[in-house]
Amino acid sequence: MALGSAWQRVSWLYYQYLLVTALYMLEPWERTVFNSMLVSVVGMALYTGYVFMPQHIMAILHYFEVVQ
Protein backbone atom coordinates (compact mmCIF):
# COMPACT_ATOMS: atom_id res chain seq x y z
CA MET A 1 0.00 0.00 0.00
CA ALA A 2 1.41 3.41 -0.88
CA LEU A 3 -0.25 4.78 2.25
CA GLY A 4 1.51 2.11 4.35
CA SER A 5 4.97 2.91 3.00
CA ALA A 6 4.30 6.66 3.28
CA TRP A 7 3.29 6.13 6.91
CA GLN A 8 6.51 4.16 7.48
CA ARG A 9 8.56 6.93 5.93
CA VAL A 10 6.89 9.59 8.08
CA SER A 11 7.39 7.41 11.15
CA TRP A 12 11.13 7.05 10.37
CA LEU A 13 11.44 10.85 9.87
CA TYR A 14 9.75 11.42 13.23
CA TYR A 15 12.24 8.99 14.79
CA GLN A 16 15.13 10.99 13.28
CA TYR A 17 13.62 14.21 14.68
CA LEU A 18 13.41 12.56 18.12
CA LEU A 19 17.04 11.44 17.93
CA VAL A 20 18.48 14.75 16.75
CA THR A 21 16.63 16.91 19.27
CA ALA A 22 17.28 14.34 22.06
CA LEU A 23 13.52 13.97 22.66
CA TYR A 24 14.19 10.22 22.40
CA MET A 25 15.58 10.29 25.92
CA LEU A 26 12.72 12.28 27.46
CA GLU A 27 9.55 10.99 29.05
CA PRO A 28 6.27 11.18 27.07
CA TRP A 29 4.89 14.19 28.92
CA GLU A 30 8.15 16.09 28.31
CA ARG A 31 7.87 15.27 24.61
CA THR A 32 4.32 16.63 24.61
CA VAL A 33 5.46 19.86 26.25
CA PHE A 34 8.31 20.37 23.77
CA ASN A 35 6.23 19.42 20.72
CA SER A 36 3.36 21.70 21.69
CA MET A 37 5.71 24.62 22.30
CA LEU A 38 7.42 24.01 18.95
CA VAL A 39 4.11 23.67 17.09
CA SER A 40 2.72 26.83 18.70
CA VAL A 41 5.86 28.89 17.90
CA VAL A 42 5.99 27.62 14.31
CA GLY A 43 2.24 28.14 13.95
CA MET A 44 2.49 31.71 15.17
CA ALA A 45 5.37 32.40 12.79
CA LEU A 46 3.46 31.01 9.83
CA TYR A 47 0.30 32.93 10.74
CA THR A 48 2.25 36.17 11.08
CA GLY A 49 3.91 35.53 7.74
CA TYR A 50 0.53 34.87 6.14
CA VAL A 51 -1.01 38.05 7.56
CA PHE A 52 1.87 40.42 6.81
CA MET A 53 3.27 38.93 3.61
CA PRO A 54 1.18 41.13 1.18
CA GLN A 55 2.20 44.33 3.00
CA HIS A 56 5.88 43.29 3.03
CA ILE A 57 5.86 42.39 -0.67
CA MET A 58 4.19 45.72 -1.59
CA ALA A 59 6.81 47.60 0.50
CA ILE A 60 9.70 45.82 -1.26
CA LEU A 61 8.24 46.43 -4.71
CA HIS A 62 7.64 50.08 -3.77
CA TYR A 63 11.29 50.39 -2.63
CA PHE A 64 12.61 49.01 -5.87
CA GLU A 65 10.22 51.32 -7.75
CA VAL A 66 8.59 48.45 -9.59
CA VAL A 67 5.11 49.66 -8.59
CA GLN A 68 4.03 53.12 -7.33
Binding site: L19, V20, T21, A22, L23, M25, L26, E30
Partner: protein
Protein backbone atom coordinates in the same frame (compact mmCIF):
# COMPACT_ATOMS: atom_id res chain seq x y z
CA UNK B 1 46.66 19.42 5.36
CA UNK B 2 49.17 16.60 5.18
CA UNK B 3 51.23 16.03 8.27
CA UNK B 4 54.60 14.85 7.19
CA UNK B 5 56.92 13.20 9.62
CA UNK B 6 60.56 13.00 8.66
CA UNK B 7 61.24 9.86 10.57
CA UNK B 8 64.72 9.20 9.23
CA UNK B 9 63.93 5.53 8.88
CA UNK B 10 62.59 5.02 12.43
CA UNK B 11 59.46 3.24 11.29
CA UNK B 12 59.80 -0.16 9.63
CA UNK B 13 56.14 -0.33 8.57
CA UNK B 14 53.52 2.28 7.59
CA UNK B 15 51.85 4.05 10.50
CA UNK B 16 48.25 4.73 9.49
CA UNK B 17 46.37 6.72 12.02
CA UNK B 18 43.44 8.99 11.26
CA UNK B 19 40.96 11.04 13.28
CA UNK B 20 38.35 12.41 10.92
CA UNK B 21 37.07 15.83 11.82
CA UNK B 22 33.56 16.24 13.21
CA UNK B 23 31.21 17.49 10.46
CA UNK B 24 29.96 20.99 11.31
CA UNK B 25 26.25 20.19 10.98
CA UNK B 26 26.58 17.19 13.28
CA UNK B 27 28.38 19.29 15.91
CA UNK B 28 25.67 21.97 15.79
CA UNK B 29 22.87 19.40 16.08
CA UNK B 30 24.67 17.72 18.98
CA UNK B 31 24.78 21.01 20.85
CA UNK B 32 21.06 21.51 20.07
CA UNK B 33 20.34 18.11 21.59
CA UNK B 34 22.36 18.90 24.72
CA UNK B 35 20.61 22.30 24.93
CA UNK B 36 17.16 20.68 24.94
CA UNK B 37 18.28 18.14 27.56
CA UNK B 38 19.76 20.88 29.75
CA UNK B 39 16.53 22.91 29.62
CA UNK B 40 14.45 19.91 30.59
CA UNK B 41 17.01 19.10 33.27
CA UNK B 42 16.48 22.53 34.82
CA UNK B 43 12.70 22.02 34.61
CA UNK B 44 12.89 18.65 36.37
CA UNK B 45 15.25 20.02 39.04
CA UNK B 46 12.82 22.88 39.64
CA UNK B 47 9.94 20.41 40.01
CA UNK B 48 11.98 18.27 42.40
CA UNK B 49 12.96 21.32 44.46
CA UNK B 50 9.34 22.51 44.79
CA UNK B 51 8.08 19.00 45.56
CA UNK B 52 5.89 18.80 42.46
CA UNK B 53 7.74 15.58 41.62
CA UNK B 54 9.13 12.93 43.93
CA UNK B 55 12.89 13.23 44.26
CA UNK B 56 14.51 9.85 43.71
CA UNK B 57 18.19 10.72 43.73
CA UNK B 58 20.43 11.45 46.68
CA UNK B 59 19.90 14.79 48.40
CA UNK B 60 21.23 16.35 51.57
CA UNK B 61 19.29 15.86 54.75
CA UNK B 62 17.18 18.73 56.09
CA UNK B 63 19.76 19.55 58.78
CA UNK B 64 22.44 19.95 56.10
CA UNK B 65 20.52 22.30 53.83
CA UNK B 66 22.52 25.32 55.02
CA UNK B 67 25.92 23.76 54.46
CA UNK B 68 27.94 23.80 51.22
CA UNK B 69 25.75 22.11 48.60
CA UNK B 70 26.92 18.65 47.60
CA UNK B 71 24.91 17.94 44.48
CA UNK B 72 24.81 21.23 42.60
CA UNK B 73 27.84 20.91 40.34
CA UNK B 74 27.69 19.99 36.67
CA UNK B 75 28.63 16.35 37.17
CA UNK B 76 25.69 15.70 39.47
CA UNK B 77 23.34 17.63 37.18
CA UNK B 78 24.54 15.49 34.27
CA UNK B 79 24.13 12.34 36.35
CA UNK B 80 20.54 13.10 37.42
CA UNK B 81 19.20 14.41 34.15
CA UNK B 82 21.17 12.87 31.30
CA UNK B 83 22.87 9.71 32.50
CA UNK B 84 19.83 8.34 34.35
CA UNK B 85 17.66 8.51 31.24
CA UNK B 86 19.83 6.07 29.29
CA UNK B 87 21.31 4.18 32.21
CA UNK B 88 20.09 0.83 30.95
CA UNK B 89 22.96 0.67 28.44
CA UNK B 90 25.52 0.31 31.24
CA UNK B 91 26.08 -2.07 34.15
CA UNK B 92 24.29 -4.85 32.32
CA UNK B 93 24.51 -8.06 34.37
CA UNK B 94 26.04 -10.98 32.51
CA UNK B 95 25.75 -14.53 33.72
CA UNK B 96 28.28 -16.53 31.78
CA UNK B 97 31.96 -16.40 30.89
CA UNK B 98 32.61 -13.25 28.79
CA UNK B 99 33.91 -15.05 25.72
CA UNK B 100 32.93 -14.41 22.13
CA UNK B 101 29.29 -15.00 23.08
CA UNK B 102 27.81 -14.12 26.44
CA UNK B 103 24.51 -14.60 28.29
CA UNK B 104 22.81 -11.62 29.83
CA UNK B 105 20.03 -11.25 32.37
CA UNK B 106 17.11 -9.32 31.01
CA UNK B 107 15.94 -6.37 33.06
CA UNK B 108 13.19 -3.79 32.67
CA UNK B 109 12.51 -0.51 34.35
CA UNK B 110 9.05 0.86 35.07
CA UNK B 111 10.11 4.25 36.38
CA UNK B 112 12.49 5.43 33.65
CA UNK B 113 15.69 3.75 34.87
CA UNK B 114 15.58 4.79 38.54
CA UNK B 115 15.04 1.14 39.53
CA UNK B 116 15.39 -2.10 37.59
CA UNK B 117 13.65 -5.43 37.99
CA UNK B 118 14.73 -8.72 36.47
CA UNK B 119 12.16 -10.47 34.34
CA UNK B 120 13.89 -13.78 35.05
CA UNK B 121 14.67 -14.47 31.41
CA UNK B 122 18.29 -14.98 30.32
CA UNK B 123 19.20 -13.75 26.83
CA UNK B 124 21.60 -16.34 25.48
CA UNK B 125 24.23 -16.13 22.79
CA UNK B 126 24.78 -12.39 22.60
CA UNK B 127 27.81 -11.62 20.43
CA UNK B 128 30.18 -9.89 22.78
CA UNK B 129 31.87 -6.87 21.22
CA UNK B 130 32.62 -5.16 24.51
CA UNK B 131 34.87 -7.40 26.61
CA UNK B 132 38.63 -6.91 26.62
CA UNK B 133 39.16 -10.44 25.48
CA UNK B 134 41.76 -9.79 22.78
CA UNK B 135 43.23 -13.28 22.53
CA UNK B 136 40.15 -15.17 23.56
CA UNK B 137 41.52 -16.61 26.81
CA UNK B 138 38.26 -15.97 28.69
CA UNK B 139 37.11 -19.57 28.43
CA UNK B 140 35.54 -22.10 30.72
CA UNK B 141 37.14 -25.16 29.16
CA UNK B 142 40.62 -25.72 27.81
CA UNK B 143 44.13 -26.09 29.17
CA UNK B 144 44.12 -22.79 31.07
CA UNK B 145 40.96 -23.65 32.94
CA UNK B 146 42.17 -27.15 33.83
CA UNK B 147 45.50 -25.89 35.12
CA UNK B 148 43.78 -23.16 37.15
CA UNK B 149 41.35 -25.70 38.64
CA UNK B 150 44.24 -27.96 39.63
CA UNK B 151 46.07 -25.11 41.34
CA UNK B 152 42.82 -24.07 43.05
CA UNK B 153 42.48 -27.53 44.58
CA UNK B 154 46.14 -27.40 45.61
CA UNK B 155 46.55 -23.88 47.00
CA UNK B 156 43.01 -22.67 47.62
CA UNK B 157 41.73 -19.27 46.54
CA UNK B 158 42.94 -16.87 49.22
CA UNK B 159 46.48 -15.77 49.98
CA UNK B 160 45.72 -13.92 53.21
CA UNK B 161 48.81 -11.77 53.26
CA UNK B 162 50.87 -9.20 51.42
CA UNK B 163 53.90 -10.00 49.29
CA UNK B 164 56.29 -8.80 51.93
CA UNK B 165 54.84 -10.78 54.82
CA UNK B 166 53.60 -14.29 54.11
CA UNK B 167 52.04 -13.91 50.65
CA UNK B 168 55.02 -14.68 48.44
CA UNK B 169 54.19 -18.04 46.87
CA UNK B 170 56.52 -20.05 44.64
CA UNK B 171 53.88 -19.54 41.94
CA UNK B 172 54.53 -15.79 42.11
CA UNK B 173 58.27 -16.30 41.65
CA UNK B 174 57.63 -18.61 38.69
CA UNK B 175 55.25 -16.06 37.14
CA UNK B 176 57.71 -13.20 37.53
CA UNK B 177 60.51 -15.11 35.83
CA UNK B 178 58.13 -16.02 33.01
CA UNK B 179 56.94 -12.42 32.58
CA UNK B 180 60.54 -11.19 32.44
CA UNK B 181 61.36 -13.76 29.78
CA UNK B 182 58.20 -12.90 27.80
CA UNK B 183 58.95 -9.19 27.71
CA UNK B 184 62.68 -9.51 27.18
CA UNK B 185 63.66 -7.57 30.33
CA UNK B 186 65.88 -8.49 33.23
CA UNK B 187 63.27 -8.78 35.92
CA UNK B 188 59.58 -8.22 36.61
CA UNK B 189 57.18 -7.88 39.49
CA UNK B 190 53.47 -8.62 39.54
CA UNK B 191 50.61 -7.10 41.54
CA UNK B 192 47.05 -8.13 42.22
CA UNK B 193 45.33 -5.15 40.56
CA UNK B 194 46.17 -3.31 37.35
CA UNK B 195 44.92 0.12 38.47
CA UNK B 196 46.88 -0.19 41.71
CA UNK B 197 50.04 -1.07 39.78
CA UNK B 198 50.04 2.37 38.16
CA UNK B 199 48.73 4.45 41.01
CA UNK B 200 50.91 2.89 43.69
CA UNK B 201 54.19 2.55 41.81
CA UNK B 202 54.59 5.93 40.14
CA UNK B 203 54.83 7.58 43.60
CA UNK B 204 57.66 5.17 44.41
CA UNK B 205 59.59 6.12 41.28
CA UNK B 206 59.28 9.92 41.23
CA UNK B 207 58.77 12.51 43.91
CA UNK B 208 59.07 16.25 44.52
CA UNK B 209 61.62 17.91 42.29
CA UNK B 210 60.97 15.53 39.41
CA UNK B 211 59.06 16.27 36.23
CA UNK B 212 56.37 14.08 34.69
CA UNK B 213 55.44 14.60 31.03
CA UNK B 214 52.17 12.85 30.50
CA UNK B 215 50.03 12.42 27.40
CA UNK B 216 46.75 14.34 27.21
CA UNK B 217 44.60 11.22 27.13
CA UNK B 218 46.29 9.07 29.72
CA UNK B 219 44.24 6.71 31.84
CA UNK B 220 42.92 7.67 35.27
CA UNK B 221 45.36 5.31 37.01
CA UNK B 222 48.38 7.10 35.49
CA UNK B 223 46.90 10.50 36.34
CA UNK B 224 46.23 9.41 39.92
CA UNK B 225 49.72 7.96 40.33
CA UNK B 226 51.29 11.13 38.93
CA UNK B 227 49.28 13.36 41.24
CA UNK B 228 49.98 11.22 44.30
CA UNK B 229 53.70 11.36 43.68
CA UNK B 230 53.94 15.14 44.21
CA UNK B 231 56.06 15.72 41.10
CA UNK B 232 55.37 18.57 38.66
CA UNK B 233 53.13 17.40 35.84
CA UNK B 234 53.12 18.84 32.31
CA UNK B 235 50.79 17.62 29.59
CA UNK B 236 51.69 17.24 25.93
CA UNK B 237 49.15 16.94 23.11
CA UNK B 238 47.98 13.46 22.31
CA UNK B 239 50.65 11.49 20.42
CA UNK B 240 52.22 14.74 19.24
CA UNK B 241 55.99 14.47 19.16
CA UNK B 242 56.59 18.17 18.42
CA UNK B 243 54.69 19.09 21.59
CA UNK B 244 56.68 16.55 23.62
CA UNK B 245 60.00 17.78 22.24
CA UNK B 246 59.10 21.39 23.02
CA UNK B 247 58.29 20.46 26.61
CA UNK B 248 61.52 18.50 26.97
CA UNK B 249 63.57 21.38 25.59
CA UNK B 250 61.89 23.85 27.94
CA UNK B 251 62.44 21.55 30.89
CA UNK B 252 66.13 21.09 30.21
CA UNK B 253 66.78 24.75 29.41
CA UNK B 254 64.75 26.38 32.17
CA UNK B 255 64.87 23.77 34.91
CA UNK B 256 62.56 23.95 37.94
CA UNK B 257 60.11 26.89 38.10
CA UNK B 258 61.62 29.32 40.60
CA UNK B 259 65.00 28.04 41.58
CA UNK B 260 66.13 27.15 38.02
CA UNK B 261 67.80 24.02 39.37
CA UNK B 262 67.92 21.05 37.00
CA UNK B 263 65.12 18.52 37.39
CA UNK B 264 66.08 15.41 39.35
CA UNK B 265 64.32 13.10 36.88
CA UNK B 266 62.13 13.53 33.84
CA UNK B 267 59.62 10.73 33.33
CA UNK B 268 57.53 10.42 30.15
CA UNK B 269 54.22 8.59 30.70
CA UNK B 270 52.64 7.06 27.60
CA UNK B 271 50.31 4.18 26.89
CA UNK B 272 50.68 1.49 24.23
CA UNK B 273 47.12 1.66 22.91
CA UNK B 274 44.80 4.40 24.12
CA UNK B 275 41.54 2.67 24.75
CA UNK B 276 39.18 5.55 23.99
CA UNK B 277 40.81 6.60 20.73
CA UNK B 278 42.25 3.36 19.44
CA UNK B 279 45.53 5.09 18.66
CA UNK B 280 48.97 3.56 19.07
CA UNK B 281 51.82 5.56 20.60
CA UNK B 282 54.63 6.66 18.28
CA UNK B 283 57.13 4.65 20.18
CA UNK B 284 60.23 4.92 17.92
CA UNK B 285 60.06 8.70 18.10
CA UNK B 286 59.45 8.73 21.84
CA UNK B 287 62.46 6.48 22.38
CA UNK B 288 64.61 8.68 20.13
CA UNK B 289 63.54 11.78 22.08
CA UNK B 290 64.13 10.04 25.39
CA UNK B 291 67.66 9.15 24.42
CA UNK B 292 68.41 12.61 23.07
CA UNK B 293 67.21 14.46 26.20
CA UNK B 294 68.27 11.77 28.71
CA UNK B 295 64.90 11.20 30.35
CA UNK B 296 63.05 8.06 31.42
CA UNK B 297 60.14 6.32 29.74
CA UNK B 298 57.20 4.61 31.45
CA UNK B 299 55.12 2.62 29.01
CA UNK B 300 51.67 1.40 30.05
CA UNK B 301 50.85 -1.57 27.83
CA UNK B 302 47.49 -2.37 29.35
CA UNK B 303 45.70 -2.86 26.04
CA UNK B 304 48.63 -3.61 23.76
CA UNK B 305 50.37 -6.54 25.49
CA UNK B 306 49.37 -9.74 23.75
CA UNK B 307 47.32 -7.81 21.18
CA UNK B 308 50.02 -6.19 19.03
CA UNK B 309 53.15 -7.44 17.44
CA UNK B 310 53.89 -10.49 15.31
CA UNK B 311 54.56 -12.63 18.38
CA UNK B 312 52.13 -10.90 20.69
CA UNK B 313 54.73 -9.19 22.86
CA UNK B 314 53.16 -5.76 22.70
CA UNK B 315 53.93 -2.43 21.14
CA UNK B 316 57.73 -2.81 21.48
CA UNK B 317 57.52 -5.94 19.35
CA UNK B 318 55.13 -4.22 16.92
CA UNK B 319 57.69 -1.53 16.12
CA UNK B 320 60.65 -3.91 16.27
CA UNK B 321 62.44 -1.99 19.03
CA UNK B 322 64.72 -3.17 21.81
CA UNK B 323 62.83 -3.76 25.11
CA UNK B 324 65.81 -2.41 27.03
CA UNK B 325 65.15 1.06 25.62
CA UNK B 326 61.98 1.37 27.67
CA UNK B 327 62.93 1.98 31.30
CA UNK B 328 59.70 0.87 32.97
CA UNK B 329 57.41 -1.48 31.08
CA UNK B 330 54.06 -1.79 32.78
CA UNK B 331 51.09 -3.84 31.72
CA UNK B 332 48.03 -5.67 32.92
CA UNK B 333 46.92 -9.26 32.73
CA UNK B 334 43.24 -8.34 32.56
CA UNK B 335 42.97 -7.83 28.84
CA UNK B 336 44.80 -10.39 26.77
CA UNK B 337 45.47 -13.08 29.36
CA UNK B 338 41.98 -13.49 30.75
CA UNK B 339 43.07 -12.99 34.35
CA UNK B 340 43.49 -9.98 36.67
CA UNK B 341 46.45 -8.00 37.89
CA UNK B 342 49.38 -6.01 36.60
CA UNK B 343 53.14 -6.19 36.24
CA UNK B 344 56.13 -3.92 36.00
CA UNK B 345 59.26 -4.98 34.14
CA UNK B 346 62.67 -3.39 33.87
CA UNK B 347 66.22 -3.59 35.11
CA UNK B 348 66.98 -5.76 38.12
CA UNK B 349 67.94 -2.83 40.38
CA UNK B 350 64.67 -1.06 39.60
CA UNK B 351 62.53 -4.09 40.39
CA UNK B 352 64.45 -4.87 43.58
CA UNK B 353 63.89 -1.26 44.66
CA UNK B 354 60.17 -1.56 43.91
CA UNK B 355 59.89 -4.75 45.91
CA UNK B 356 60.74 -2.76 49.03
CA UNK B 357 59.37 0.69 48.33
CA UNK B 358 56.16 0.15 46.38
CA UNK B 359 52.90 0.65 48.27
CA UNK B 360 51.31 -2.25 46.44
CA UNK B 361 53.98 -4.68 47.52
CA UNK B 362 53.86 -3.63 51.14
CA UNK B 363 50.13 -3.20 51.71
CA UNK B 364 48.15 -4.98 49.03
CA UNK B 365 47.29 -8.65 49.10
CA UNK B 366 49.16 -10.63 46.50
CA UNK B 367 47.57 -12.32 43.51
CA UNK B 368 45.35 -15.32 44.00
CA UNK B 369 46.94 -18.69 42.93
CA UNK B 370 44.39 -19.83 40.30
CA UNK B 371 44.69 -16.41 38.61
CA UNK B 372 48.50 -16.80 38.62
CA UNK B 373 48.19 -20.21 37.00
CA UNK B 374 45.81 -18.84 34.34
CA UNK B 375 48.42 -16.21 33.45
CA UNK B 376 51.25 -18.75 33.39
CA UNK B 377 49.35 -21.11 31.12
CA UNK B 378 48.12 -18.41 28.75
CA UNK B 379 51.54 -16.77 28.55
CA UNK B 380 53.20 -20.09 27.75
CA UNK B 381 50.54 -20.66 25.11
CA UNK B 382 51.28 -17.30 23.48
CA UNK B 383 55.03 -17.92 23.55
CA UNK B 384 54.53 -21.38 22.06
CA UNK B 385 56.19 -23.17 24.97
CA UNK B 386 53.31 -25.56 25.56
CA UNK B 387 54.18 -27.33 22.33
CA UNK B 388 51.27 -26.17 20.19
CA UNK B 389 50.83 -23.31 17.72
CA UNK B 390 47.55 -22.20 19.31
CA UNK B 391 49.08 -18.98 20.65
CA UNK B 392 50.54 -17.91 17.33
CA UNK B 393 47.27 -18.76 15.58
CA UNK B 394 45.35 -16.57 18.03
CA UNK B 395 47.67 -13.60 17.55
CA UNK B 396 47.33 -13.88 13.79
CA UNK B 397 43.55 -14.33 13.99
CA UNK B 398 43.29 -11.14 16.05
CA UNK B 399 45.35 -9.18 13.51
CA UNK B 400 43.19 -10.47 10.64
CA UNK B 401 39.96 -9.72 12.52
CA UNK B 402 41.17 -6.19 13.26
CA UNK B 403 42.07 -5.39 9.67
CA UNK B 404 38.88 -6.90 8.27
CA UNK B 405 36.52 -5.25 10.76
CA UNK B 406 38.06 -1.80 10.45
CA UNK B 407 38.14 -1.94 6.67
CA UNK B 408 34.51 -3.00 6.43
CA UNK B 409 33.30 -0.32 8.85
CA UNK B 410 35.19 2.38 6.98
CA UNK B 411 33.76 1.19 3.69
CA UNK B 412 30.26 1.41 5.13
CA UNK B 413 30.85 5.08 5.85
CA UNK B 414 31.17 5.32 9.64
CA UNK B 415 33.70 7.59 11.28
CA UNK B 416 36.25 5.33 12.96
CA UNK B 417 39.10 6.75 15.04
CA UNK B 418 42.53 5.37 15.58
CA UNK B 419 45.27 3.30 14.07
CA UNK B 420 44.54 0.61 11.50
CA UNK B 421 46.18 -2.11 13.58
CA UNK B 422 44.58 -1.51 16.93
CA UNK B 423 41.92 -4.00 18.09
CA UNK B 424 40.03 -1.21 19.87
CA UNK B 425 37.59 0.33 17.36
CA UNK B 426 35.76 3.54 18.38
CA UNK B 427 32.76 4.36 16.18
CA UNK B 428 31.59 7.95 16.53
CA UNK B 429 27.99 8.63 17.53
CA UNK B 430 28.14 12.30 18.63
CA UNK B 431 24.47 12.93 19.55
CA UNK B 432 23.31 12.09 23.09
CA UNK B 433 20.09 10.36 22.07
CA UNK B 434 21.99 8.12 19.68
CA UNK B 435 24.13 6.82 22.55
CA UNK B 436 21.11 5.26 24.23
CA UNK B 437 19.45 4.30 20.94
CA UNK B 438 22.57 2.50 19.65
CA UNK B 439 23.01 0.46 22.82
CA UNK B 440 19.37 -0.59 22.89
CA UNK B 441 19.03 -1.35 19.17
CA UNK B 442 22.17 -3.49 19.18
CA UNK B 443 20.90 -5.42 22.19
CA UNK B 444 17.60 -6.05 20.40
CA UNK B 445 19.66 -7.60 17.61
CA UNK B 446 21.62 -9.74 20.09
CA UNK B 447 24.93 -7.88 19.99
CA UNK B 448 26.41 -6.41 23.13
CA UNK B 449 28.38 -3.19 22.69
CA UNK B 450 29.89 -0.62 25.02
CA UNK B 451 28.84 2.98 24.42
CA UNK B 452 30.77 5.81 26.01
CA UNK B 453 29.59 9.31 26.78
CA UNK B 454 30.58 12.45 28.58
CA UNK B 455 32.97 12.09 31.50
CA UNK B 456 35.14 9.58 29.65
CA UNK B 457 35.13 11.44 26.31
CA UNK B 458 34.74 15.11 25.32
CA UNK B 459 31.08 16.13 25.51
CA UNK B 460 30.27 16.09 21.80
CA UNK B 461 32.48 13.14 20.89
CA UNK B 462 30.53 10.24 22.30
CA UNK B 463 31.26 6.89 20.73
CA UNK B 464 30.61 3.17 20.67
CA UNK B 465 33.73 1.14 21.33
CA UNK B 466 34.17 -2.32 19.86
CA UNK B 467 36.86 -4.63 21.26
CA UNK B 468 37.78 -7.36 18.83
CA UNK B 469 38.84 -10.79 19.92
CA UNK B 470 40.68 -13.75 18.48
CA UNK B 471 37.68 -15.80 19.60
CA UNK B 472 35.41 -14.03 17.09
CA UNK B 473 34.99 -16.12 13.97
CA UNK B 474 34.47 -14.52 10.58
CA UNK B 475 30.78 -15.49 10.66
CA UNK B 476 30.29 -13.68 13.96
CA UNK B 477 32.02 -10.61 12.59
CA UNK B 478 29.90 -10.72 9.45
CA UNK B 479 26.70 -10.97 11.51
CA UNK B 480 27.85 -8.10 13.68
CA UNK B 481 28.77 -5.99 10.65
CA UNK B 482 25.40 -6.63 9.02
CA UNK B 483 23.59 -5.52 12.18
CA UNK B 484 25.82 -2.48 12.60
CA UNK B 485 25.05 -1.55 8.99
CA UNK B 486 21.31 -1.82 9.64
CA UNK B 487 21.47 0.19 12.85
CA UNK B 488 23.70 2.73 11.12
CA UNK B 489 21.07 3.26 8.43
CA UNK B 490 18.25 3.36 10.97
CA UNK B 491 19.98 5.92 13.18
CA UNK B 492 21.76 7.79 10.34
CA UNK B 493 25.26 7.27 11.77
CA UNK B 494 27.20 7.23 8.51
CA UNK B 495 28.78 10.64 8.84
CA UNK B 496 32.04 10.00 7.03
CA UNK B 497 32.72 12.06 3.96
CA UNK B 498 35.83 10.01 3.15
CA UNK B 499 37.91 12.98 4.04
CA UNK B 500 40.57 10.78 5.52
CA UNK B 501 43.82 12.68 5.72
CA UNK B 502 46.30 9.88 6.23
CA UNK B 503 49.45 10.90 8.06
CA UNK B 504 52.25 10.59 5.57
CA UNK B 505 55.35 8.83 6.65
CA UNK B 506 57.52 9.30 3.62
CA UNK B 507 59.46 12.38 2.59
CA UNK B 508 57.54 15.20 0.97
CA UNK B 509 57.90 15.14 -2.81
CA UNK B 510 56.05 16.45 -5.81
CA UNK B 511 53.47 13.66 -5.89
CA UNK B 512 52.32 14.29 -2.32
CA UNK B 513 49.55 16.72 -3.24
CA UNK B 514 47.61 14.04 -5.14
CA UNK B 515 46.72 12.16 -1.98
CA UNK B 516 44.52 14.85 -0.45
CA UNK B 517 40.80 14.87 0.16
CA UNK B 518 38.37 13.80 -2.55
Amino acid sequence: INHIVHNGGLYKRPFNEAFEETPMLVAVLTYVGYGVLTLFGYLRDFMRQWKIEKCQNATERDEQKDFVPLYQDFENFYNRNLYMRIRDSWNRPICSVPGAKVDMMERVSHDYNWTFTYTGRVIKGIINMGSYNYLGFAQKEGTCQEAAAKVLSQYGAGVCSTRQEMGNLDKHEELEKLVARFLGVESAMTYGMGFATNSMNIPALVGKGCLILSDELNHASLVLGARLSGATIRIFKHNNMQSLEKLLKDAIVHGQPRTRRPWKKILILVEGIYSMEGSIVRLPEVVALKKKYKSYLYLDEAHSIGALGPSGRGVVDYFGLNPEDVDVMMGTFTKSFGAAGGYIGGKKELIDYLRTYSHSAVYATSMSPPVVEQIITSMKCIMGEDGTTVGKARVQQLAENTRYFRRRLKEMGFIIYGNEDSPVVPLMLYMPAKIGAFGREMLKRNIGVVVVGFPATPIIESRARFCLSAAHTKEMLDTALKEINEVGDLLQLKYSRHRLVPLLDRPFDETTYEETED
